[in-house]
């Protein structure tokens, strides 16, 4: 496991550095001999959104289930706020909230009832129950549907209700297993907005798993990329992407140099390098003129002024500049030599959610 430390312009992690969830050498071998999780270690800090990113079957859910004491690890240690989770199972369950990957609200109950039952199972004081439930529903934007049967809800509303349900015991860590799986793009954005709000406004520590790079990129302060039971690399999204290699600047050039002057060869400053240099209009090129692609040592935006100066010095007319950066998919590609194939799983989960609603009706 590599820990990246290139710290330029990284989104700051929250200041609290106390450990919320610490996992050491977690290994889970299923009875059928499959090593689903293999010596996984990480440390989630309080107030942080921590993401476990990996393709279907990487072992993410198994990690979550181990932490939540839903399955017993083969070896390894787990601490929730430095309390040994394996030795104090009921006590640590009391302070964790859990939204499983699958649907976990009961379609035959109302939204309010779903939360009521769970507040009782978490031994929330009778006097406080009503307030907490209403607050959680309002926070997730569901207060108007409080008394409707959940089977009438859309997938996105169900997901938000599941999160609300996990909030009634005011968990110190919230576990979200694939929070936006199977949701349509609008519902997905809505869930993201709520997750971020939870973390920013209420400082809830959030541990999520996802196979969706964009989700990891948007929501997480830190990410651990998991493949075939192992964490292959971890760091903030920016660190990880910076670790992939250099960023790219594409330069589109206009016609001739200004004022009819002869343009000379472009000389790039040190640390910059042409990946592709265009000599003139050629076949298959649009009317937009010529395009150079330059590899930049550091962050691309910071290289742009120097590039522009180099082109000016050579009297080459620049019409537009664009910057492209590696994505988390490129990070995954670099460390595992495969891309996260997500389309299929996404479709499957979506149809499962639909068929649940159909059956529930």
């Amino acid at each position: 496991m590599a820990e990246l430390t290139t710290g330029q312009g990284v989104a700051p992690s929250p200041p609290a550095l106390k450990s919320a969830v610490r996992v050491e050498g977690l290994t889970k071998v299923y009875p059928n001999g499959l090593r689903a999780v293999d010596s996984v270690s990480f440390d989630v800090k309080e107030g942080e959104v921590f993401g476990l990113l990996g393709p279907n079957g990487a072992g993410k859910t198994t990690v979550i289930k181990s932490i939540l004491t839903l399955t017993s690890p083969t070896s390894g240690r787990i601490f929730i706020r430095s309390v040994d989770a394996l030795a104090n199972q009921a006590a640590v369950r009391q302070v964790m909230g859990y939204v499983p990957q699958e649907v976990s609200v009961d379609g035959d109950l109302t939204a309010y009832e779903n939360l009521l039952i769970f507040s009782k199972l978490y031994y929330v004081d009778r006097a406080e129950r009503g307030t907490r439930i209403r607050e959680a529903l309002r926070y997730m934007g569901l207060d108007e549907r409080s008394d409707d049967l959940v089977k009438t809800f859309s997938g996105g509303m169900m997901r938000r209700l599941e999160i609300a349900q996990a909030l009634v015991n005011r968990p110190s860590v919230l576990f979200l297993d694939e929070p936006s799986i199977g949701l349509d793009p609008a519902a997905r954005l809505e869930v993201w907005r709520h997750v971020r709000k939870l973390n920013e406004e209420l400082r809830t520590t959030i541990f999520l798993t996802t196979h969706d790079m964009l989700e990891a990129d948007r929501l997480c302060h830190r990410i651990a990329i998991m493949n075939a039971g192992k964490i292959v690399v971890s760091g903030s999204p920016d660190e990880l992407k910076a670790g992939v290699g250099r960023e790219l600047v594409s330069v589109r050039m206009g016609g001739g140099g200004p004022g009819g002057l002869e343009s000379g060869p472009v000389v790039l400053p040190p640390g910059f390098e042409f990946m592709k240099q265009d000599d003139g209009p050629g076949p298959g090129r649009g009317a937009g003129g010529r395009e150079d692609v330059i590899l930049v040592g550091g962050r691309a935006e910071e290289g742009v002024p120097q590039i522009v100066r180099a082109y000016e010095a050579a009297r080459v007319d620049v019409s537009s500049i664009s910057v492209s950066r590696p994505t988390l998919d490129d990070v995954f590609l670099k460390y595992t030599a495969t891309r996260i194939g997500e389309a299929e799983e996404f479709r499957q989960a979506k149809s499962a959610r639909r068929s649940f609603r159909k059956h529930a009706r």
Binding site: T71, I80, N88, S104, F118, L121, Y123, R170
Partner: protein
């Protein structure tokens, strides 16, 4: 809202509710969940009552003419009322394992297991939930039997006793079903296994004929069958009013129930993973 709670350390040191209290509360809450579901879909209760009604009316009438099938001092319809009542509870309870597998396939079971509720309370809660439906079935069968004048005795105290037996029967067979669920593990196999087990339980018992008419080996099976003890207990309450065997019947049934509840609690995690 979540956040600044002083988390685990606090919870560990906080004076915890006694385990027994947590166990009882959680069991009742899991049962409450079911009760609320029934409330929202009460028509289902009536639909489920059709089958036992048909057994009593059609099967009971059809065989009422066959001589010597039942002890002569009672009508055959009176004789099978306790049998049909117990059978209807068996049929309701044995499908609780299917529900459990279904809830596993969704994330519901895992979510329940992730609460601090003691795990056996989830099993006991589900078994109590089966009892709620069982009691309703019992009420309808009894009402029907009284309405058509089968001649069962109508003594409030004894009828309360019948519901005690119904609750035991429902808990017994729903926990048996949860144990089977841990072996079947998929919904389809679970459906299949439930069908397979339900008929031997029903026919190899004293529910609709006295065991004396069976070959010896089948009598042994019937003697091991918890349903027989339930039927016998209900029969003594509703027909003979001879209670010499009642303590034994109840003890055997309670023993089965306790054993199966414990077994189901042990294998619950197997269903979940």
């Amino acid at each position: 809202m979540p956040g600044e709670s002083n988390a685990v350390a606090g919870v560990l040191h906080e004076r915890q509710r006694p385990v027994l209290l947590r166990f009882v509360t959680s069991s009742l809450v899991v049962a409450e969940m079911e009760a609320r579901k029934i409330k929202h879909a009460s028509s289902e209760l009536w639909i489920r009552a059709i089958q036992p009604a048909l057994w009593l009316l059609v099967f009971g009438s059809a065989l009422a003419g066959v001589r010597d099938i039942a002890p002569s001092q009672f009508s055959y319809m009176a004789f099978i009322t306790p049998g049909i009542l117990s059978q209807s509870v068996l049929f309701i309870a044995i499908f609780y394992g299917v529900t459990l597998v279904w809830e596993r396939d969704l994330g519901l079971l895992n979510k329940l297991l992730a609460t601090p509720a003691p795990r056996p309370s989830i099993v006991v809660g589900k078994a109590l939930a089966a009892s709620i439906r069982g009691v309703f079935q019992g009420l309808l069968v009894l009402a029907l039997s009284i309405a058509i004048g089968t001649g069962i005795s109508v003594n409030l105290l004894y009828i309360l006793g019948v519901f005690g037996v119904v609750i035991l029967l429902a808990m017994c067979f729903s926990s048996l079903s949860m144990v089977i669920a841990s072996l079947a593990r998929t919904r389809d196999r679970m459906m299949g296994l439930s069908q397979v087990i339900i008929f031997p339980l029903f026919f190899a018992s004293n529910a609709i004929y006295p065991t004396q008419i069976m070959p010896e080996w089948l009598q042994l099976v019937a003697k091991a069958n918890p349903l027989s003890y339930g039927v016998q207990a209900v029969r003594s309450l509703l027909l003979t009013q001879n209670f010499t065997m009642l303590p034994t019947d109840l003890a055997v049934l309670a023993g089965y129930t306790l054993g199966l509840l414990s077994l189901a609690s042990l294998v619950l995690r197997r269903i979940a993973s």
